[in-house]
């Protein structure tokens, strides 16, 4: 017997009722947020921000009022678009061999004259101890698996993206895409030596990208569909919340509102918000964590485009990211074509996973290694009654 759906159904419908009951409340809050954004005062915000920076709290840099919108720029007729996506097969402790696999899919499309496309997928197996462990100075070590592997994969995607640039002609503008956030999330929970390792790697890649971006017209966009961020809402809150301003307690006036809810009302299709910058360390620029971002009404939804922080100074790069993101989402449709194809290349299906396991066992067996596999694994595969 698998999932008891009749039982689940009752709980699901209870949940739906409760959400529906809260919906009016939510709409009211969004309304409040919109009003707040329209009243947004840059100078007041800057003073609050400065105040908080002194306390060591980082806040979003806002240089234009959030209500300001930018129409879709034209994109060059001849344009290279490239994207990277990845997926992985995690370490399976039921399997005799300890290993994991990262599969990176890349897609490269040339638009304009002599259009063409290149699709590729590059799987890499990590099996050696050295490959699978991050070591600290004092014999501390971290096995790469689970959430660590997720970050490792993200970094590999970034690496592949920087490698992809070598394939691109220098004289044609190019727009690079990543799926999801620009930087991996959740690094902070790991021990210092792990964080250091990751940051070092990211640093290296970002430096490379930075150098490349000076040589060619190139944008790097991390495309986040249905973003759950609330950076701008938080900024609004700083200005309107009684608790924060010290004039009362929080009434939760815009709590729970997402940036996307706000910009859905503020933007027309194709338009983007102003550029915001997220500065992780106040007063200091960090190449491996600081980002510039904007929201874009891409077809049917508000998406968040994250870019390396340096992009903020180059309007043409921002236009390129804005234009190509919108164009790609139209082509998708709904989601950038180039990311869809990269994803299709990267994807590891359930069948693929099974095949991978069999392949590993077969290889071990043929080398004379018996593969004592856990009973649980056997019972998963042989579904007798």
């Amino acid at each position: 017997m698998s999932l008891d759906l009749t039982n689940t159904l009752q709980q699901v419908s209870d949940m739906a009722q409760s959400i529906s009951a809260r919906e009016n409340e939510r709409l009211k809050r969004i309304e409040t947020a919109i009003i707040a954004s329209k009243k947004f005062d840059l100078r007041s915000y800057e003073s609050v921000r400065g105040h908080l920076a002194e306390l060591g709290q980082s806040t979003t840099v806002i240089n234009d009022p959030p209500t300001k919108s930018f129409i879709t720029p034209n994109i060059p007729e001849n344009l290279m678009v490239a994207a990277v996506d990845g997926s992985h097969i995690d370490v399976n402790r039921h399997l005799a061999a300890e290993c994991f696999l990262i599969n990176i899919g890349t897609c490269l499309i040339k638009y304009g004259d002599d259009s063409y496309a290149e699709l590729q997928s590059i799987p890499t197996l990590y099996a050696s101890d050295e490959n699978m462990t991050i070591r600290g100075a004092d014999n501390r070590f971290q096995r790469i698996q689970g959430s660590v592997l997720g970050i490792k994969r993200h970094i590999e995607e970034l690496k592949s993206l920087s490698n992809l640039i070598k394939k691109l002609p220098k004289d044609i503008p190019c727009s690079l895409f990543l799926d999801g956030t620009l930087f991996p999330i959740g690094i902070s929970i790991f021990p210092q030596f792990v964080r250091d390792q990751f940051f070092d790697e990211i640093n290296e890649i970002m430096n490379l990208l930075f150098q490349e971006s000076s040589r060619r017209k190139m944008s790097v966009s991390a495309y986040i569909s249905y973003p759950g961020h609330n950076d701008i809402v938080q900024a609004l809150r700083l200005l309107i919340c009684d608790e924060i301003s010290g004039s009362g307690i929080c009434k939760g006036c815009i709590e729970g509102v997402k940036d996307r809810d706000l910009f859905y009302e503020l933007l027309e299709p194709g338009q983007r918000s102003p550029i915001f910058v997220k500065n992780t360390t106040p007063g200091h620029t960090n190449i491996s964590s600081d980002i510039a971002f904007f929201y874009l009404y891409a077809g049917n939804e508000i998406v968040r485009i994250e870019m390396p922080y340096w992009s903020v100074e180059h309007n043409d790069i921002i236009d390129l990211a804005h234009g190509s993101s919108f164009d790609q989402s139209i082509r998708g449709p709904g989601y950038p074509t180039v990311l869809i194809e990269a994803h299709e290349q990267a994807i590891v299906t359930a069948v693929d996973r099974e095949s991978f396991i069999e392949l590993v066992e077969l290889a071990l067996n043929s080398n004379g290694i018996t593969t004592p596999t856990s009973q649980k694994n056997i019972s998963k595969r042989i579904r007798n009654i």
């Binding site: 063409y116 496309a117 699709l119 449709p333 194809e341």
Partner: protein, 205 residues
């Protein structure tokens, strides 16, 4: 026709168009190197490894490489198909053209044998369109007719008609060729003159 021109033509028609991706005793499937790179229906092709095998193109298909991803109509906006491919170059990477050929014979010690090959072609053998002289030689004997008519393809009659049309055009008297073949077909399809008529009518257009 001067010999230079002839040479050029031979070379052109010897063009390799793809590789065998599926093979059985009675048919083999070729994946084309180029999207839409398949030869016309009824063409004579060869899977050209050490045991060349003749096939007649009987079924061509272009579809998504990934069966779970079907092409999405682009809407009536774009003027023509060409510009769709121009605008979505990745289509060429996601679609593939394949064609199935009914096995109709093979070459053994440089002679054409019009029977099923003892073994099917190897996977990834190259597939090429036959040369004019190969086609003329192959079609000079009507044993292939029965192979085509007996094949399990639903539209084998049309395949036969297309093949005859191609083969007849290479002959000084196309009608006579169709008459001779027609008699063979008629004797293989007793009581089905209307079907024979249809095949020949399609072949003579």
């Amino acid at each position: 026709m001067n010999s230079k021109k002839q040479n050029r033509k031979e070379k052109l028609s010897k063009e390799i168009i793809g590789e065998v991706i599926r093979a059985s005793s009675t048919e083999f499937e070729t994946q084309c190197y180029d999207l839409y790179g398949f030869p016309p229906l009824g063409s004579l092709v060869l899977s050209d490894d050490e045991n060349p095998i003749f096939g007649i193109v009987s079924h061509s298909v272009t579809e998504s490489l990934d069966p779970s991803r079907t092409p999405r109509p682009r809407g009536p906006g774009l003027a023509d198909v060409k510009s769709i491919y121009q605008e979505s170059p990745q289509l060429k990477n996601l679609l593939n053209s394949r064609f199935t050929s009914i096995t109709v014979g093979y070459i053994q010690s440089q002679t054409v044998v019009r029977k099923l090959s003892p073994v099917p072609p190897k996977i990834l053998s190259i597939t090429r369109i036959s040369t004019e002289s190969e086609l003329i030689e192959f079609s000079s004997n009507f044993d292939f007719v029965a192979r085509l008519l007996n094949s399990s393809f639903a539209s084998s009659d049309d395949v036969l008609a297309s093949f005859l049309s191609i083969a007849a055009r290479l002959r000084p008297e196309p009608d006579q060729y169709l008459i001779d073949t027609g008699k063979e077909i008629a004797s293989l399809l007793p009581g089905q003159m209307r079907r024979v008529n249809l095949i020949l009518r399609n072949a003579s257009i």
